[in-house]
Symmetry: C2
Subunit: 498 residues, 2 copies
Amino acid sequence: MTSAGRPDHWPADPATGLAGGVDGPDLVRRLAAVALDAAAAGARDRAGPVPAGGPDAVARAVRAACPDVLPEDGTGAEAALTAVARALAAGAADPADPLCAAHLHAPPLAVAAAADLTASTLNPSMDSWDQAPAASELERLVTAAVAGMAYPDRPSADAVVTTGATESNMVALLLARERAAAPVRLVCSDEAHHSMPRAAWLLGLPTPVTVPTRDGRLHPDDLAAALDRTPGPYVVTATAGTTSRGVVDPLPAIAEVAAAYDAHLHVDAAYGGGALFSDTRRGLLAGLDRADTVALDLHKLGWQPLAAGLLAVADGTLLAPLSLRADYLNADDDTGAGLPDLLGRSFRTSRRPDAVKIATTFLALGRAGLGRLTDRCCAAAEDAAAQIDRRPGLRLLSRPELSTVLFRPVAADRAGDEAGDELVAGIRRSLLASGRAVLGRATVRGTLGGGRLWLKLTLLNPHVTAADLTRLLDLVEQTADQLARAPRRAAGGTSTPE
Amino acid sequence: MTSAGRPDHWPADPATGLAGGVDGPDLVRRLAAVALDAAAAGARDRAGPVPAGGPDAVARAVRAACPDVLPEDGTGAEAALTAVARALAAGAADPADPLCAAHLHAPPLAVAAAADLTASTLNPSMDSWDQAPAASELERLVTAAVAGMAYPDRPSADAVVTTGATESNMVALLLARERAAAPVRLVCSDEAHHSMPRAAWLLGLPTPVTVPTRDGRLHPDDLAAALDRTPGPYVVTATAGTTSRGVVDPLPAIAEVAAAYDAHLHVDAAYGGGALFSDTRRGLLAGLDRADTVALDLHKLGWQPLAAGLLAVADGTLLAPLSLRADYLNADDDTGAGLPDLLGRSFRTSRRPDAVKIATTFLALGRAGLGRLTDRCCAAAEDAAAQIDRRPGLRLLSRPELSTVLFRPVAADRAGDEAGDELVAGIRRSLLASGRAVLGRATVRGTLGGGRLWLKLTLLNPHVTAADLTRLLDLVEQTADQLARAPRRAAGGTSTPE
């Protein structure tokens, strides 16, 4: 940056310039352009969904770009942005690439990323009104809208913003713990997310009861039998969109059982919650509004940059245990004088205003626009399933319910249990190590899954095409053939195949 | 946006365009420019550190910009970005304004905000290597550098990234809980952050023991006496930079006591940790490396957009309780084949790569550059204290140790206890409601503080000038005079004074 091209108000050293104020946005725009240029160059370097060469090669490249991350003297803003952004992009598993389809790892919308930048420049902190006047009102609008989607007929519903379903699940358990007269016990299925039992451990609750699923779903009879065997009080968790199979537990029937046993019902809808946007898929979540608490993640079907978690509650009074007084943030006399008290909206204190990007995305796309994106992801999964069904070399587990597709090369079935699993794991690692595709994996219990390892596509990219999916499945079949011919390599490492 | 000006690769509807890939950065650049223009316009609308009119006026303005945050049909990307970013900025308490000086609410550096944008576009999620290849290595470099600063002589030290000191404090207590043979009891001072006892409650630990401070500091004799009265095991917490007074507990002496009682020593250095960057202030933290765990917040003295928390540990093996297996993220055979296991680095699962902005800032400024920013904030506090000392109408509590300055109008002393506190609270609310300044408040125990309410400046803006501080203190004195003449308004509401 030459001094000739620098406006008067710029700091002598752009590395020390602030993002806020009247002039900050101009400096941020210039530095963001440097970073985005470097990110685009890094994406061209990568030339695929993920860098080739595996962990050692990526680590070497990052250390080469950044040999001393905290030097005594700095390199200046532009050199640092260029080095880090290019290394980050060159070494990214980019969910915007259609062949990056392993996880509940959504490609963010550009509009959401741009909106989040304004949150960074002004840095509202959501722990007191005098750090976040407008941001706190935006959050109120967003949480009210989300509560209204999850609980359309409950005016008392509310929602709070979290870092994701792990925090939402933990806070839901905390609220259940605090309303119960005795230590509350978590009862969940063996397909519930690991954050549920982990939250019980964190909160010092009794050992959870795990109910085996029937082909991926919690059966209400099995739940009732487990509750019969266990002393209460309970918090029952159902999952709307399981991590491994993307299926929705039978919510209305589970709600009946939970009510009969006077259990707090929590639904982890981190994945499936995106169906609320869609006219054609909302029916999958029938019964959701009978839950006491619902975890939602708009960084999944919602296309936000991390983090954009929410916990919706059927009745706002459930949130009372989060209330807290801290003289410096919400003194009684300030609250009495009309200053809103934000401290009871989170377990965190300083808190990034994630509602800014969510509000902007909601406004830009509307409910119908977001629903169309959900529908496109679900349609891509249906298309992938149909393509798999048409290929004699691949076997589909079951029709997708949301946007998760599980399948297996027929060669893995033929190879026997252990060798078949090794082949599946080897296909995934080979595609990952060579930078050609990022696929997921899941051990699938039950009659269909046979307890074996399956390949998993989690399709969260609304722009993925049938041709992309064909290319991806071709790669899987080619790799299966290669590895089946060279069985020693099936369980191989993550370095690039020679 | 006219179609004539749109590159071929842009989506027909920019609201549905992705941030990643080779082409995403170009769309993000264009949309970020729209958002930043709107943010600059909003800052001009605001024309001060905070909007005038109080909560009702701000809420009305936000709702006018955003009458339906989740409409059926969207408004498109540019209209949404303009509406939200302008309302956010017009209604911000902007820490880049020198007269916004209430809280540990730092003005972010433009370079950090720009770097964070690249994290948003690529969305690495820090729960598995195949979602964050380069980002996980960048995080490794950052955590190693931070562990090295906190524990210069301990090669076994490590650090993990958190959402802030509230999470760091909670995880520290969790680690102490898991290494203890019996329920561990928190022993902390009455100036410890509220997140310490809150974490004990969350984790199901016994009721904490609170030790009264002597003029804001935990005295080692008082700590020893409290430990004598209490059955162990203990986790002792000291604070390096208290929220209300910005002072550092006597760490070496506290470390002696903690060692004598075999207590886990945690130091909450969320604020004071910034002194590690500074050659002239590092001595304040002597003894820090005797702690088992240290909470640090680079969104305070570190000038990062939220969030940029860290928990440093003296020995990496302390982190073992965070370890977790989840077949879809870190299967044994994948880890065996060389894929790094990231899941044990956090209680969260999906996790934003906050290390990206930290790494970029470290590289841009270097340790010395960050130290100069810390020094400037501390020097501003010394200057403010000197100016207060020279004003007969104001009384300084004590010389600042970091960048917090507590003072009181002499008129408040003269008005008597209750009326004096009302005057202090009224000055703060009047300046806030009229949009002229954002000051903090603290009830100060001890001989100096007298248990009364004081005005607080927390100076985290390295560009604040002596003239800014003069203007701020003039405003305080003028407002004190006005309110002292019209005592009814001293405890008044937050609407704009007529």
